[in-house]
Symmetry: C2
Subunit: 328 residues, 2 copies
């Protein structure tokens, strides 16, 4: 900028005005400055700008795994909202590791992102307290924050799972298995709670062997499914706790006899499988959009009480959830 000013024979501030399109520069001066900018290949250094202005016009997004299809539309929705507010997205994956989440969040804070959208991996976010006190806006998505007051935007995991399991019961099933994600993860336990509620409301007992929470690694899920489908009292239907689980279960069932299945989370091509896979769909893009809107409302100066928003789910029958119990 100094070079441009010298080259154009004007003051620093005049260059600043031209670069930022501020008024109060004669067309003639402006043209001269523009020419110098082009000649020197000048590009404003936003780091310096940030240092003065205090805002970076960027927000951080911490998610579990960029490669998981559930997070694609969510990220994209956050990006679109950020873009509408002139902000860039800085992001990273926690890989479901609380320590890595913490490092990532703190690195983003050190860059002084204006706000943070976090899909938490950990369940203790007190490390954020100094940041929040310093004015950082944070919104949690998909799972609530731990031990800290903050906005959170969730799908109705409990209600969705309950509806999905009730759907299976309505189609005649009495022995239904639940395979979900690790019990450390909030959505997994909420969906389990929905499963139990639906069973209880129908007056159906739940055998301990019908509930399996743990890693979504295909081997673990396949073993769980095989266990429930075999044994003395085999289940006649399965409820899968998220799309990773559903896909593995579909693979297992493709190699076995058809068993009724409802999965939480929609996924591409679910309708083209035979039978089509009945799902409890959640709107990933809406989660991202609502969370980002909330964040920018705060960045705009609003200071409402932290709020919890639950987005409804939608049961999409496609065939697999309407299969009757197989004859024993």
């Amino acid at each position: 900028m100094k070079d441009v000013a010298a080259h154009a024979g004007v003051g620093l501030k005049t260059v600043s005005r031209v670069v930022n399109g501020e008024p109060g520069v004669t067309p003639d001066t402006e043209r001269r400055v523009q020419e110098s900018i082009t000649a020197l290949g000048f590009r404003r250094n936003d780091s310096a700008r940030v240092l003065r202005k205090g805002r970076t016009a960027s927000i951080g997004l911490v998610l579990e795994d960029l490669a998981d299809p559930f997070y694609g539309p969510l990220s994209r929705a956050v990006e679109e909202v950020a873009r509408a507010h002139g902000a860039l997205l800085v992001n990273g994956s926690s890989a479901e590791d609380p320590e890595r989440e913490r490092e990532l969040v703190l690195a983003l804070c050190a860059r002084r992102v204006d706000g943070l959208v976090v899909i938490p991996a950990g369940d203790d976010h007190r490390y954020l307290e100094p940041e929040v006190r310093a004015g950082l806006a944070t919104v949690f998505v998909d799972r609530p924050a731990g031990r800290i007051e903050a906005d959170v935007v969730l799908s109705d995991s409990y209600g969705g799972a309950r509806e999905g399991v009730a759907h299976l019961i309505a189609h005649g099933h009495r022995r239904i298995g639940f395979i979900g994600d690790h019990p450390r993860i909030h959505t997994a336990t909420e969906r389990l709670r929905g499963y139990r509620a639906a069973m209880a409301e129908a007056g159906l007992p739940v055998a301990p062997a019908w509930e399996s929470l743990g890693s979504t690694a295909p081997e673990r899920v396949a073993a769980a499914a095989a266990g429930m489908l075999g044994g003395a009292e085999p289940v006649t239907a399965l409820f899968a706790g998220n799309n990773r689980v559903t896909v593995t279960v579909v693979r297992v069932l493709a190699a076995a006899r058809p068993v009724a299945l409802v999965g939480f989370d929609d996924f591409e091509l679910a309708d083209l499988l035979r039978p089509g896979v009945t799902v409890v769909a959640q709107d990933a893009a809406a989660l991202g959009r609502v969370a980002a809107d909330r964040l920018f409302t705060r960045l705009g100066g609003a200071r409402p009480e932290p709020e919890r928003t639950e987005l409804p789910t939608r049961l999409v029958p496609r065939g697999s959830g309407e299969l009757p119990p197989a004859a024993p």
Copy 2:
């Protein structure tokens, strides 16, 4: 930092030393400074640091659409490499709009990212010249840069398409249609070139009606497929230019008679469809990894000539590509 120094009764530089873990501080002083840091909730402001050091420890990633499943593993791979080098990822989607790509790239440059990984939407990247001259490292992925010398990492679109089409020919097809992405996109024309080469090598004529490039919007693709499957000389097999096209074609075919199909790009569940979808698989994660490695090699000070790397594709037969021509 000034506050911490005052609070601990030491000089600024000493706080800097403690914050950065530099040697030359007595354990006692260090402890005092640490206490002040905690008491005041101090977090280093990386913007200021960047301004001095000249490096931001962040790289920009510009892709087409964060929500497209092809880019998930690619992004994740870039992120992992960046993480190994202590860098964060700033990213955005161009939405296949050259002007938006340009804005995004320049915004990233203004933030002074150390380097850039770009999946180009446009075909003229001369706007990057001042940046490159100023030392910005840039690697293009999936498609080459336009009118500028730069590293590029691609899949072998030509070879992969040629192999896929030859596979269909080997299974007895003589009338094969090609449906691809917009001709403005490099991969689309390369794959078309591969299609033509395979047909020519087999001595097969290609009717103009068998080639259709354009938007990957489902309506456009469905119409193109319907056109090729109907008419006087219907095709007996289709080659789909990318995974968006393949998915739509599978949908169309599910509602019609079975037609042989090979798609460029693998996708989840392709093996569970009936028939399984034969694909020419490319390794999205490897594209991202190789590109990011190249970038950090440059950031490490290496100044090799810009290089073009082509990653091989892999034909994965699953059923749809091995269907014989239907009796006329």
